[in-house]
Each structure stands twice: as C-alpha cells, then as structure tokens.
Symmetry: C2
Subunit: 353 residues, 2 copies
C-alpha cells in the first residue's frame, strides 16, 4: 500500500532523534557492564583483552564521546588548568601559553585561557567563572589582584602560580622575573655606556604593574647615578609601530636634547627606530634605544633593537611544571618561588657612546 514512501520530502527537519550517546549505549552494544566499559575507556584495572576489544570496537563504531562533565562530577577530578592573562594581542602572552602547553601536553592536564584586558574587575569575574569549573590549578599573570580575587585563590584549595613578576607577595607559588631589577639593569647599562639625557616611553601604567615596576627600577637606578629622567611620554591602548613613531616624534619635539630612549616594549621601540631612521638620526650614535621583551619576530629590522629577554617561554614551562607536579603528587611543597634572570640583548641600538 504505502509504498508511496519512496517520495521522501527533502527537508532539513528530518530530526534524527539522536541524543548524545552514553556509557550505557556502549555497554548495551558491547554486551558488557557499564562499569567495565568505563574501565576500558580509561585504561583502568584489569580487563581481559577480549572484553577490551569488544568495548573499543563498540565505542568507535557508535562514535561515542565520553561525557567529561559527568566523569568530573563523579570523580571530583577536573583535568583543567585555568590560565588567566591580561591580553592575547600582546605576543608576550601567547608565548607564555606556548610554554605552558608544551609541558601540559605531557600530562593529563589541559589549559583553559581567560583574558582580563588588564581590568581587575574582569579578572575577578573570569577567575570566579573558571573556579566554578573546579580546575586542578590556576596560573595567573601578575601579583596584583583585588581582595576578592586573592580570597578566591587562597581558599580554592588548588595550586596557584602567579607568573611574570616576582616583585610582591605571592598567594602561593610564583614564577617570573623582577621587573624592578630589569629596569635597574637597563638603566645601569645605559649609563655605563655614557648616555645622559634619558627619556622614557611607555603605557600609562595604573594597571600595567610590570611596566610600572620597570619604570620605577629604571628611575631608581638612574637616581643612584645622579641622573634624572629628562622627559617621558605615556600612551593608551595597544602597542604598534605607528604608536612608537608618534610617541618618539612627540618626545623629541619637546626635548630635542635626549640621547637615549627607553621604551616599555619592543613594538613601540621598533616604531621609534623606524621614525629616527626616517629622520636621518644616527642610532645609536646620536640617540640610543632600548625596548623590552626580546621579541624575536622583529629581529629582521634594519637595526636590531636593544632589549631584554623576559623569559616568557621558560616562565610558562616552570609554572606548568609546578601545577603538573602538584597535581600528580610528585611535588608536595607549596609556595615555590622561581625568579628567572632576564638578559640584556644589546642589539645595535645601545652602544658605547
């Protein structure tokens, strides 16, 4: 009779009533108890090869994807590491992530990234959100957090590693460099090389604590040599070559006697370099330059910018090692402190003067 069913209406609505598969589906398909299926899928306990085989087949044939939500709830184990950073457009942070992933790839852990845009309030929200997934650990940039954030971190009962910066009071572990020291080191080098009229260019720093600390260390070390910063110029928003050009033009119009410019990052430093070369200024003869971060991407500029390696990848790696070690029990202490040593790269814009 109804062989008119050969007219199949072609529509998007042919709702194949397929709910997500569960362990039970695999159990039924393989004729093995859910428990044993679970064992096979997690490589736990003793399972005969025959059974294992059956289960693996069934799971693959069905296209079963385990539900980690349920697994995590049952085992109260969540193999996630919350990584909280201020920005992704800064190059610096993706590199830290690279270091983190490198290490976590050899562990059952998985990084989950949250971005704060340098806003403490956003940090608080992101942190709350991530903690509500009950991660195995937290890696968070910086040592400055709101009271609420600190409270959450302190009482989460999981390893916390604050990264990038070591100047301050960590909640638990800390891996980074001392930005104060970095600023001092660069100041000393500049003075040692004979520059005297020194300018600073960087972000407006109320929220960029690391830039602020570098600036403080820098001016402090200069002060010890009896030198005061001759001029400074601050900017908002992201860093780019254009921004570096603009700042440099501005500060030099105002203070033409400057013989050194210290930039708070390589991108604006490179922009400054471009500008000065366009103007026919002799770098580093007439004006010396230095940036910060050691961004290798920019190595191909006409002159290599003096800078300081911020050890980003190592920082990521060490932080991840601490989390991984504490999670698998191979590390039991807490509160570790790893201060890495940034190194000055003289490049071709910081020479004896």
């Amino acid at each position: 009779m109804s062989d008119d069913k050969k007219v199949i209406p072609i529509t998007e609505d042919i709702e194949v009533p397929r709910r997500p598969l569960t362990l039970k589906d695999v159990s039924v398909a393989s004729g093995v108890s859910e428990m044993t299926v679970s064992r096979v899928l997690r490589n736990r306990g003793d399972v005969s090869d025959a059974t294992r085989e059956k289960v693996v087949r069934a799971a693959k044939d069905l296209g079963y994807v385990p539900n980690k939500i349920a697994g995590a709830l049952a085992s109260s184990r969540v193999n996630l590491v919350a990584v909280i950073i201020p920005s992704l457009s800064n190059m610096v942070f993706p590199e830290v992530l690279t270091g983190i992933s490198e290490v976590l790839d050899d562990s059952p852990l998985q990084a989950v990234v949250g971005v704060t845009n340098y806003l403490p309030e956003k940090e608080e929200n992101v942190l709350f959100d991530m903690l509500s997934w009950r991660p195995s650990g937290v890696i968070i940039a910086g040592l400055e957090h709101s009271d609420a954030s600190r409270a959450m971190l302190a009482s989460a009962g999981i390893p916390v590693v604050e990264i990038m910066d070591t100047d301050g009071d960590p909640i638990d572990a800390v891996v980074g460099i001392s930005h104060r020291r970095a600023g001092r080191m660069m100041a000393k080098q500049i003075v040692r090389y004979g520059y005297e009229n020194i300018g600073f260019l960087g972000t407006k720093m109320p929220l960029d604590h690391r830039a602020r600390k570098r600036f403080e260390g820098f001016t402090e070390a200069l002060a010890k040599e009896g030198i005061e910063i001759m001029d400074q110029e601050f900017y908002d928003g992201g860093s780019s070559l254009v921004k570096g050009r603009e700042l440099t033009e501005k500060i030099l119009k105002r203070s033409p006697d400057l013989d050194f410019l210290y930039y708070s990052n390589d991108m604006i430093g490179a922009g400054g370099l471009m500008y000065l070369r366009d103007q026919g200024v002799d770098v580093p003869g007439q004006i010396g330059l230095a940036g910060f971060n050691g961004v290798r991407l920019l190595d191909g500029l006409p002159q290599k910018l003096a800078t300081m390696d911020a050890e980003r990848i190592s920082i990521g790696r060490e932080a991840a090692r601490i989390i991984a070690g504490r999670t698998d029990g191979s590390i039991t202490e807490r509160g570790q402190r790893i201060e890495l040593s940034p190194k000055i790269q003289l490049g071709e814009t910081l020479k004896r003067h």
Copy 2:
C-alpha cells in the same frame, strides 16, 4: 592522659579540613532550602527580597563558588563554545578570538580555545577533548578536517561554524572569505598595474589550506592573463621578518628579473621590504610587493605594504553571533553561509608600473 597534644607541630600539613563549599552549606547558613538558594544564585523564578538577601549574604560570607560541573550535568547545559584554531602565534587568530569574545561577552557563553598547530591529528584530539565537555557550539578554523573530525562535528548535535575560508563544503555554517578569490583579486591588480615577472613566497602549503588556495587563485588568474609565475620560494615554520629577508634574498639571487613579489603573509612581506630597502632597490618602482592579512601592527614601516584585509574580527563576530543566536533560540535555521569581501590595501608597494 594524652594531653601532650598541646605540642602542635608547625607544619604545612595542618590540613584545615575544608572541602569545597556546596549549595547545602549556603542552604544551612541561610536557613533556606537548597532549591531556593539555587534559584537566587541563578536569578530564576520568584524569590522574595528578604530570602534573596539572606541567601546572597550567606553565599558571599562563605565565599561560595558554585560548581558548574554539577550544574551542567543536572541541566545538560554547558555555556562553553569550543574554538579551535591552528595557532596562537599568528596574530591572525588572536584577532579572530577578539571578535568572538566581543560578541559572546553579551551572552552567557564563554569561549574555550584549543590549538592544533596545523596538525589534523592534533585537531582530532583537541576536538574530541572539547566535545567531551559538551559545549554549546563549535567554531573551528578551516573546512579541511579528517573524516573522524567531520563525523564528530556532524553528529555532535550542536551548531558548528567553520571559519576563515569559504572554499569548500561546510559541515554546517561557514563564515569567512574566499581565499581563491583573494588570490585572484591580487593577481589581477598586479597585472593591471603592469607587473609581469611575478614571484610567490609562502609557507610550504600541504597543511595551510588557505595559503594554498590563495596561491591557486593567484596562479589561475595570472594564467588567464597569459602570465606564469616566474619563480617561487617556500618555507617551513613561523613567519618573521628575518624569514622574509632570507626568502627574498634567495629568490632574487635566483631570479633577478622579478619585478613583483607576492608574499603569503604580511610578516614575511615586511621582511622582504626591509631587505630590498637595505639593498637600495626601488620599491615599488623596480620591484613591487604585496602581502596578505592586513596586519595593522606593521603600519609604521618605512613604506606601507600592499596587502589584503582578511576581515578577521568580523569573521569572529559573525561566527559568534551564529552560535549565540542558535543557542538562545533566536536563530533556528542552520547551515548559514557568510562570505565576507576582502579588500585590497594598495599601501605604497603596489603602484602603477
């Protein structure tokens, strides 16, 4: 007897037996049922102001952080969007993420990022991992995936948006540009401006499908004009200014007659520009240059590189809108297709010749 317990060893092991707080703790502390506490914490249903007040106080005082694992399991709702991209060090992808976050920030959804390093196998793993968290949707770069990946995506029962590229068969929705067309557009422009001896420089492309498609579109359009690529040069690994310099030197040593170089991205294009200027080559008089991506970061170079805006932020935004709309029910159709139009930016390295 055993009142020698007054000697308390000072150790890190004084385990404050503090398990993570649960709804029940808040319920007890506030004298309200768990259900009502849940209602308050999620702003659901009617709760008297008095009760709400009590609950909020208690939760805050205790420092309660809800357990999303349990919530997600109970409600079978997970407010995560899996975003799968090949790399974080390419600038391009963080920008896509920016567009995505911008839109998701106005929704209950949260992006979770997975990185594949351009490896199909890793993509498969990352995808499997993310799907096992039962996200509300997937945004994934590219249209080329392993069969297993496609199967997982197709049967996940959630919205899937493939991004960046529109040249191919999408699984569900797609948002991007046609890289073939982009390559053709640039080829036509170059020919129209009178360049004839054209070289191509880019990544080895077995896995970078978008670069390959641009290359194919490029050569195809040239062919239509009766022009064949004079030389080409491919490289492995990340893009940097140095790499651009090296490639450019190499290709020009081999084919000194080239009068145009088309680079598969702006970074190596900028490196090429640096090299040519160092060599005293007149750009674009002697040799014209173009890159791809429209990376604003590099705008401050001595000359603005010709390029093509890949619409990254818009792509992120549109993709996120589709996921958000389908998740909240405001969009019911599936399989949407959004092809954005890349625009050539002539800059100062592609001029009438």
